[in-house]
């Protein structure tokens, strides 16, 4: 697929900011949406807007069918064993909170331990802290090395008899390095410890096979894979989902409701309380199909690889720049670059780049412990998608140099 052709499917990329063509390099925060997704949402809103799983009328039947078809599409996207293992949520954050809350309720007790890494997004830290406070459990932290590589070899030392779950990101939204999740799962399972993988970034850049990975939970957000905001997925092995209590009560998550006692719907319905996001969720079918096609297309893969190599070269050879997340050995880096510039504040750089039409992220990137780990107050991050061109990467470098020279 030619990058120009891909671009033409994303209307937002035509935008001009301050009279300059938009160069959108904040894809790790959210991706743009293609016509097929936008059109699907519009068609659902006008053509079959009815609440799902309830009424017998035509609109409701169509809406329910679209919604449930999406579950099959997600199952395929993740290569899950069954559609019952796919729970729709509002995003990665809700997916992780659901597990922390419900798995935690069932399996975590006073003095138990939970392991996360220092490179987690706040969404994969705070839910576990809340659980630890509630249950008087202990949060332990897996460290990274100076290059941003996860110190997987020290995982076994962190695991104890009291370890109840490990929550780890597939790819950090700051470091952009693909973590060896299969290896982590294998190690954890040796001790009978389940693993939750935060796939907010992994689902975008890597082919995901939850059976091969053998993770117990996998969470991701629709809005980062070209899909609608407010959509998300939790994959959970059936044995865990069935053993966990519901998250919220109400709506269609029940079997029977009596004041003498209520029984719950079988999974995944048990976890889908209240009116679901039925206008948006079905558009995930189009989004995931597109995401999958990008991962399989050699031209797209090559373009992303060339951009990655180019920026790695530029950013690691500039003595003013400190890049966080440098691939070592066989480690894979996605086109996502967080860095600090000696003597130039990330916010100043982002403001100047903005006026040149470039959208990048600056600040703590929802990963304060990682900022502390590297001793910085924030970073600048440029993250690329398949619709970004090499010319945009070059323009970014040119503008970055100009911005730096304005500041120092």
């Amino acid at each position: 697929m030619d990058v120009r052709e891909i671009r033409s499917q994303f209307p937002a990329l035509e935008a001009k900011v301050y009279g300059k063509p938009l160069v959108y390099l904040d894809n790790a925060a959210t991706s743009q949406r293609p016509f097929v997704v936008l059109e699907k949402q519009r068609a659902l809103a006008s053509g079959s807007n009815a609440n799902i799983h309830r009424a017998v009328h035509k609109f409701a039947v169509d809406a329910t069918e679209e919604y449930e078809k999406t579950r099959d599409a997600v199952r395929e996207f993740l290569n899950a064993d069954s559609r019952e293992e796919i729970v729709f949520t509002s995003g990665t954050t809700m997916s992780i909170n659901l597990v922390a809350s419900c798995f935690g309720e069932a399996f975590v007790h006073e003095g138990d331990e939970i392991i996360v890494s220092v490179a987690e997004h706040h969404s994969n830290i705070v839910p576990w802290q809340l659980l630890c406070q509630r249950k008087k459990a202990v949060l332990k932290v897996l460290e990274i090395d100076e290059f941003g590589g996860l110190m997987v070899e020290s995982l076994e030392k962190l695991i104890s008899q009291r370890t109840k779950i490990i929550a780890i990101t597939h790819i950090s939204n700051v470091l952009g390095l693909v973590n060896p999740v299969s290896e982590i799962v294998a190690t954890a399972h040796k001790y009978g410890v389940p693993v939750l993988v935060d796939g907010a970034q992994g689902s975008v850049h890597e082919k995901v096979d939850v059976q091969a990975m053998d993770c117990d939970f996998y969470a991701f957000s629709g809005h980062k894979v070209y899909g609608p905001t407010g959509t998300g997925v939790l994959y959970g092995k059936k044995k865990w989902l069935e053993a966990m209590p519901p998250y919220m009560g109400g709506g269609e998550m029940i079997e029977t409701v009596r004041f003498s006692g209520t029984t719950y719907a079988p999974v995944p319905g048990k976890f889908e309380a209240g009116t679901q996001n039925f206008n948006a969720v079905p558009a995930l079918q189009e989004a995931l199909r597109l995401a999958e096609s990008y991962k399989e297309d050699s031209e797209v893969v090559d373009n992303q690889k060339n951009i990655t190599d180019y920026l790695l070269d530029v950013l690691t050879n500039d003595p003013r720049i400190r890049l966080f997340g440098v691939p070592r050995g066989t480690a894979v880096k996605i086109p996502l670059f967080s860095f600090a510039v000696e003597g130039a504040h990330h916010e100043d750089l982002a403001l100047i780049l903005d006026k040149m039409g470039i959208a990048v992220r600056s600040g703590q990137m929802c990963a304060e412990p990682l900022m502390d780990r590297f001793g910085v107050t924030g970073m600048l991050r440029a993250s690329f998608a398949p619709y970004n061109t090499m010319e945009e990467a070059e323009y970014f470098v040119k503008c970055l140099n100009k911005a730096i020279s304005m500041l120092i």
């Binding site: 916010e347 100043d348 982002a350 403001l351 100047i352 600056s362 600040g363 304005m406």
Partner: protein
């Protein structure tokens, strides 16, 4: 120069630049020229909340007039605060508290900064205003 005259002067200085990048260059110059702020006084208490960058703001009342001192780790922010200080330092608390700070909007600072930055600007203004109100 009266407060009104000074504000008018800042608006005119700023409107000389058409391009935002030139305005930033100007703010960067102002930031670099800001009088140094003692490292020892960069305390939690003086830190302004609501900015992506860190801003420290301190003031003193000398003979009924307020004098501000500030610093930031980001230079554009430092330029903005320098602009505010040049307008409001050396004024009486009544003058400051009675001002509507609308010149900030007139020079387009508010809408041309990111929302997080705008929040920072709002916090800076609020801190200056609060200082004045406390002294009345």
């Amino acid at each position: 120069m009266s407060l009104e005259e000074k504000k008018q002067e800042v608006i005119e200085d700023f409107s000389m630049y058409d391009e935002w990048l030139d305005k930033y260059e100007y703010l960067i110059e102002l930031g670099k020229a800001l009088e140094p702020y003692p490292e020892g006084e960069k305390t939690e208490e003086k830190l302004i909340k609501g900015c992506q960058s860190r801003v420290w703001l301190d003031w003193e009342n000398k003979d009924g007039k307020l004098y501000f001192r500030a610093d930031s780790d980001a230079i554009i922010t430092k330029g903005i605060i320098s602009l505010l200080i040049s307008v409001y330092s050396g004024r009486t608390p009544e003058e400051i508290a009675g001002d509507d700070f609308s010149f900030v909007e007139q020079i387009g600072l508010r809408e041309n900064l990111s929302p997080t930055r705008a929040n920072g600007l709002v916090s800076m203004i609020a801190t200056i205003r609060r200082a004045a109100e406390e002294q009345i």
